[in-house]
């Protein structure tokens, strides 16, 4: 069931499951830790995805075939370890629900704006992956009533702190960046700081809850551009 596929000339993609499940992110993080320890000198970067682990390797020291051979026994050991249901750290995050797409999303989902905010802020989410931009945590657990495909063409610029949804995921854009998700609101906090240790508060498997705040509280908490 596990597949190892080249991803370009200098990376190997481990496809670990067909669908994500609640325990998978922490298990992928554990596998990444093992591979970093065992094969660290061959690897430049390890990027956990929802169901995958991408290994950027040093082509002057190895290639996808040699690496796959080294990884297979480690994967077997990993598969034999039973899944643990650890709790993960809990983050409670303030959101000013004021996003550009709020009205459109509510209509598309057949909800009022109030109902949309209630549905989004009453769920508990799990960090399933971190990527796309520094500190961008993909959160699983979005209510199926809010599931919408990504925009057909991404926006050139989404403001920093934007809370957004797409498919069955929700996330906050920590920096201004291009983005293809639907914007629901703004978070006043800085979610990535290269000079902080660790730079990002989230780890795979952490739990996240949102609570609604108004514009005054958003400004008071340090929120910027809106």
């Amino acid at each position: 069931m596990i597949r190892l596929e080249p991803a370009g000339a200098e990376a190997l993609l481990l496809v670990l499951a067909d669908e994500p499940d609640a325990g998978l992110p922490q298990r992928i993080a554990a596998l990444a830790e093992t591979l970093r320890r065992e094969l660290g000198h061959l690897l430049l970067d390890l990027v956990p995805g929802w169901t995958t682990l991408l290994l950027h390797y040093d082509l002057t020291r190895t290639d996808h075939l040699a690496l796959a051979e080294r990884i297979e026994p480690l994967l077997e050991a990993w598969l034999s370890v039973p899944a643990v249901s650890e709790s993960g750290q809990v983050h409670e995050i303030p959101i000013w629900y004021c996003g550009e797409d709020l009205t459109w999303v509510a209509e598309a989902c057949g909800l009022s704006i109030g109902e949309l905010v209630d549905v989004h802020s009453s769920a508990e989410y799990r960090v399933g992956a971190i990527g796309f931009s520094p500190g961008f945590a993909y959160l699983s657990g979005l209510d199926p009533r809010l599931a919408l495909p990504r925009r057909s063409s991404p926006r050139i610029r989404v403001p920093a702190g934007s809370l957004a949804i797409a498919e069955r995921q929700t996330a906050i854009y920590p920096q201004a960046s291009p983005g293809g998700w639907h914007l629901l609101g703004l978070c006043p906090w800085t979610l990535f700081d290269a000079h902080r240790e660790p730079p990002c508060p989230f780890a795979l498997g952490d739990r996240v809850r949102f609570f609604a705040i108004d514009e005054a509280r958003y400004r008071a908490e340090g929120g910027g551009e809106a």
Partner: protein, 306 residues
């Protein structure tokens, strides 16, 4: 230590090294030069290893004044070069005397040139690299991802060479020729309709003016892309096809993960040639074997050092 004072910074001049490695699990983009080959040649001309920090000059319009005597090397886009009005050759190293001004005009062909100093341009690394990532606010001279500004100082070693030198002309790329970029087919290619894959390789594409350091956006007859739901790690040169059917090729400032289906990967050194193309340039693609791409890249790393 010697230095160059910035008189005119140009529209987009950025410090770049081999890139920010080891932080992609937190979503930090590797950044690095858009044209790794031209950047590596600039370092090579001064005896630097391939990943030393250089200045990536987009479009041109830069003027620098030497504070002390020092050697510099320039490669990449064909920008008219002169020292106090005297012409100098591109793809070459030469010496500047104290007070001399190096003028870098606007590109006649190509988009990006690379300026190297001996030992690499000095700056404090952020997360292990000085590569300037403006979107993320990381790297550059001040560490906060800011482009070059008037009054900045580019500091490096003085250097000592018996004479100037140029990259042998057969190795100097011609950025005016039509661009055929090589693509390793893979990723989600099997989920694409065969006819759609064929269309990608048979059709001509235009480089959209909306392209930037993150990705080259193509414009052409829309492809029909399969759906993919779960975001995963992506690499330099990945050819993503969003639902609007206009492919995006990921370049130096790419994100670490993406959810759009990928039909393959442009050869990393061909991504450099793509980075030298002006907006609305016609691009075509041809399939390439993974093993051939690896052989060529290994030779590149062996020659220039990592």
């Amino acid at each position: 230590m010697s230095g160059l004072r910035v008189i005119k910074p140009g529209p987009l001049s950025l410090l770049q090294d081999a890139g920010r490695r080891g932080w992609q699990h937190l979503g930090v983009s590797p950044a690095g030069p858009m044209d790794p080959l031209a950047a590596a040649w600039a370092n090579r001309l001064l005896g630097n290893t391939g990943g030393c920090a250089v200045l990536e000059i987009s479009l041109g319009g830069v003027e620098l004044e030497a504070e002390e005597a020092l050697w510099v090397a320039l490669t990449g886009a064909d920008m008219p070069l002169s020292v106090d009005g005297e012409p100098r050759l591109n793809w070459s190293r030469f010496r500047l005397e104290p007070g001399q001004r190096l003028q870098i005009g606007y590109a006649r062909s190509g988009q990006r040139s690379y300026l190297a100093l001996v030992g690499g341009i000095r700056a404090e690394p952020v997360l292990g690299s000085v590569a300037c990532q403006m979107r993320e606010g990381l790297g550059g001279l001040d560490g906060e991802g800011v482009r070059l500004a008037k009054g900045d100082l580019l500091a490096g070693d003085r250097g000592d060479f018996p004479r100037g030198a140029s990259v042998p002309w057969p190795w100097q790329p011609d950025y005016t020729s039509a661009q055929l970029l090589r693509v390793m087919v893979g990723g989600d290619a099997a989920s694409f309709d065969e006819q759609q894959l064929r269309a990608f390789f048979e059709n001509a594409w235009l480089l959209s003016p909306q392209s930037d350091r993150m990705g080259a956006r193509l414009a052409g007859e829309a492809l029909v892309a399969p759906q993919r739901q779960w975001s995963q790690g992506v690499v330099m040169g990945a050819v993503q096809v969003p639902p609007d059917g206009q492919p995006i090729i990921l370049t130096a400032d790419r994100q670490t993960m993406g959810g759009y289906p990928v039909l393959g990967w442009v050869h990393p050194l061909d991504v450099g040639r793509l980075a030298q193309c002006p907006a609305n340039q016609v691009l075509r693609f041809t399939p390439m074997k993974l093993e051939d791409a690896q052989d060529e890249l290994r030779a590149f790393y062996r020659f220039f050092g990592r």
